[in-house]
Symmetry: C2
Subunit: 482 residues, 2 copies
């Protein structure tokens, strides 16, 4: 059960822990350690690391009595999650272990002392729970190290103090923001619940806070802190494209271009059906001039999840970065694709020929070609008609209006009404009085349930201009015009 | 008080009656008759006529004993309101008066008998209250006229019966419709109350019923019935342009073109500030080819109630019926008019040059001229930009976008945002990737409270096409996109 669950939710730390604890209960600590080891790369969670260290220490010390392996494990742990607000217990355990290490000579003693001081100095700059208690403990330790050299101890403490103070100040805000974050049962996708929305926002606020560098850390420390925060957030919300995109952008902003790409690629691995992340990746590649890579993204999309929108953006990309001919080839491919074709593709291809290539005739041909398949798509028909009307070629526009309205089989009554209304509007702005009246009458014949062509409401519509009406709003109410 | 009130509401029958009754109370019947005589042309109301007849009969018979004047008055009364559903009392009084007339010879007797029969025959075809009782009375009268010629009497009755039956059938529906009509205290304008709306509808239903000719009357009788119904309705709702327009159209439909025009002119006299009725009249004139008359309507409007909409339609009319030059002259006049000018006039003049005259350069010049005065009218600016964009001349369009956005003094922040959004949409469909990103960034700089240019929401908008989104609606909700 855990294997299957963790395949779906590899970042669910609590389930890795529960899985490992099953083996612990069976007294098979080695298996437990194996399980935890698999989970650790996915989950920057303090609890998971602490559990791992407990079992690893006990197994290792039992077999070899060599503490160097354990120390290395502790180092890996504090590297991974030593920035966590709850990492104080981990740090305490690390320090306790260091203190407990037997030393056999002066050299080893100095080495251990340096290790301890480094650990203290690192953790005392982390805004975490009970960091003030650790400070007291550290002061005492530093001062009692060499009673003959109290002055130096005080100097060291004094040098560290401002950085520690900054951490304590940052802790207050960090705690508030961290407390606002909820850890859901499963790291699932957004399902529309308000709770989830608030949780995402809470995470984003925490990330913003860390990125604002409240402790004024050097850039490398800041980078680590932000990276840790993103990673932890992504372990809880791995199916939220927002965070992947934000993390990618952050990499880009600090100049880590390959990190930017890798983050988006990891996001796509987690949420393979997210068009947003695919488009984001393709766009990044294209902006950096990596046309081949961008093209690969689009090719993959066309292969694995073809859709009209995918083909539309692939066509646009090809036109921008290759040639008109390349775009047309993709349009051809789209037309043959069962899931990748719709009126949208025809419409965009046509408009692109007109806008980018300034070729109105090709655009018209594409619209006409599309009309053969999509004369029942009122949105497509309206786009075509608007396109024609923008040419100021009234007679051609009228021909298409009439053609579309004459085709009895295509549009249903209510959709056809949209075309009629557009046609009447067209004549209001282009036609003469008798053309307008004739058209109003034709429409009224087909839709007798609407205002009659002889009604005052119809007159009011005819003489309206934009927000100017030939009557007051109260009169419009009486006439039944919105 | 009554004089002033009746000047405002000349069709308020109940106030004419109350006014006259004041004189009656003072025993000044002649004055009362004068007052009633003034009211009668405005009010086709049975009560008013009956009151008039009562006083007129008593005064006339007192002075001259000549009943011919009274009979003439009765004839005028039944001509005016003899179709009313409540006219039964009037008819009864008429018949009673006829019966009471002394005759001195056989010739006079025959004449009186014919008059009586004509009155009976007319009123028995009116769907009015108690018409069945009048029928019984008539049958008796006809049969007792000449006991020796009962056969002929029965023949006359039999000939009349189908028409009378039709009236009785129509009466049921007519009563229902007439009962639905409320007579308000004052014949005022529509003020937005539901009651008023229902009352208008009730009148329109009654009119429709009469126009449907339920009694299958000859066309002249039908015309009289419908005209009476319109007149009565207009005495109760004289400030409702709907009814004037409907009455005008009805005249037109039965071929009474001068009646159509006269009705609209009367309506304009009643509601001088109704643009709808003015436009309706101008349109009728123009449709009939009476260009001079149509022009007069527009000239009067420009003189007495100039407004942008008036000038817009005057310009359109001039272009249709005179020349481009005439339209331009009116545009010039509009520009100098304080109340008649607004961005709408510039916009319509420009579009008309483009659509009708196919002169894009003149259109551009007009838009540019308008921009000097109306750069703070976002709707105008957007119309201009849409016009430019439709030319497919991207660089010129961009120049105007930039010019408008650079003008700090004109648009307020929220209006300028509409221009920014339109500009970004424009680049989405025309620009290359870096132009799009740059523009998004510029907008985000000015409107930091909106989605950032680096946000996933912005990416989603960028990759949207019509109703196709690169994410589900639930994700859009999370991204805060409508």
């Amino acid at each position: 059960i855990y294997e299957r669950l963790l395949e779906v939710f590899p970042t669910s730390g609590r389930h890795w822990l529960a899985y490992a604890n099953q083996y612990v209960a069976d007294n098979d600590k080695k298996k437990a350690i194996e399980v935890l080891k698999r989970g650790l790369p996915h989950c920057p969670h303090v609890d998971l690391w602490r559990s791992y260290l407990t079992h690893f220490t006990s197994v290792t010390m039992q077999s070899t009595k060599d503490n160097s392996e354990v120390l290395k494990a502790f180092e890996r742990a504090v590297d991974a999650v030593g920035q966590d607000i709850s990492s104080n217990s981990l740090w305490s355990e690390y320090i306790a272990f260091l203190r407990s290490c037997k030393v056999s000579n002066q050299y080893e003693n100095t080495q251990r002392m340096n290790q301890l001081r480094r650990a203290y100095h690192r953790c005392l700059q982390v805004p975490m729970h009970s960091v003030d208690k650790l400070w007291t403990e550290y002061e005492q330790w530093e001062k009692t190290l060499d009673p003959n050299n109290l002055q130096m101890a005080e100097q060291i403490i004094r040098d560290l103090e401002p950085k520690h103070k900054a951490a304590r100040v940052a802790y207050k805000e960090r705690k508030k923001l961290r407390d606002a974050v909820q850890n859901p049962q499963f790291p699932g996708p957004y399902t529309g619940e308000n709770k989830e929305k608030q949780n995402l926002k809470a995470w984003q606020e925490l990330i913003s806070f860390e990125r604002s560098n409240p402790q004024k850390m050097p850039s490398e420390d800041l980078r680590k802190r932000v990276a840790f925060t993103f990673n932890q957030c992504l372990s809880y919300l791995p199916l939220y494209p927002e965070i992947w995109y934000e993390a990618g952008n952050w990499h880009g902003e600090i100049g880590d271009l390959s990190g930017e790409i890798k983050t988006l690629e990891k996001g796509i691995l987690m949420i393979p059906n997210s068009l947003l992340l695919h488009f984001a990746l393709a766009e990044k590649h294209e902006m950096r001039g990596n046309i081949t890579e961008a093209k690969n993204v689009y090719e993959n999309l066309c292969e694995l999840q073809p859709s009209p929108l995918v083909f539309i953006h692939y066509m646009r990309f090809a036109r921008r970065s290759e040639s008109v001919q390349a775009a047309r080839t993709i349009f051809k491919k789209a037309r043959k694709s069962a899931q990748g074709c719709s009126w949208h593709v025809y419409c965009d291809a046509a408009l692109r020929e007109y806008y980018s290539n300034k070729d109105a005739q090709v655009a018209r041909n594409i619209f006409e070609m599309g009309l053969k398949h999509y004369s029942c798509e009122v949105e497509f028909v309206l786009q075509y008609l608007d396109f024609l009307a923008s040419f100021n070629d009234d007679n051609n526009t009228r021909v298409v209006f009439e053609k579309v309205l004459a085709d009895e089989n295509s549009l249903d009554r209510q959709q056809a009404l949209l075309i009629w209304d557009r046609f009447v509007d067209f004549e209001y702005s282009r036609g003469d009085l008798s053309a307008i009246h004739k058209l109003e009458q034709r429409r009224a014949m087909i839709y007798p349930e609407r205002q009659g062509s002889q009604s005052l409401a119809q007159l009011a519509c005819r003489f309206r201009f934009s927000n100017l009406w030939p009557c007051s709003s109260i009169e419009r109410d009486l006439l039944g015009i919105q």
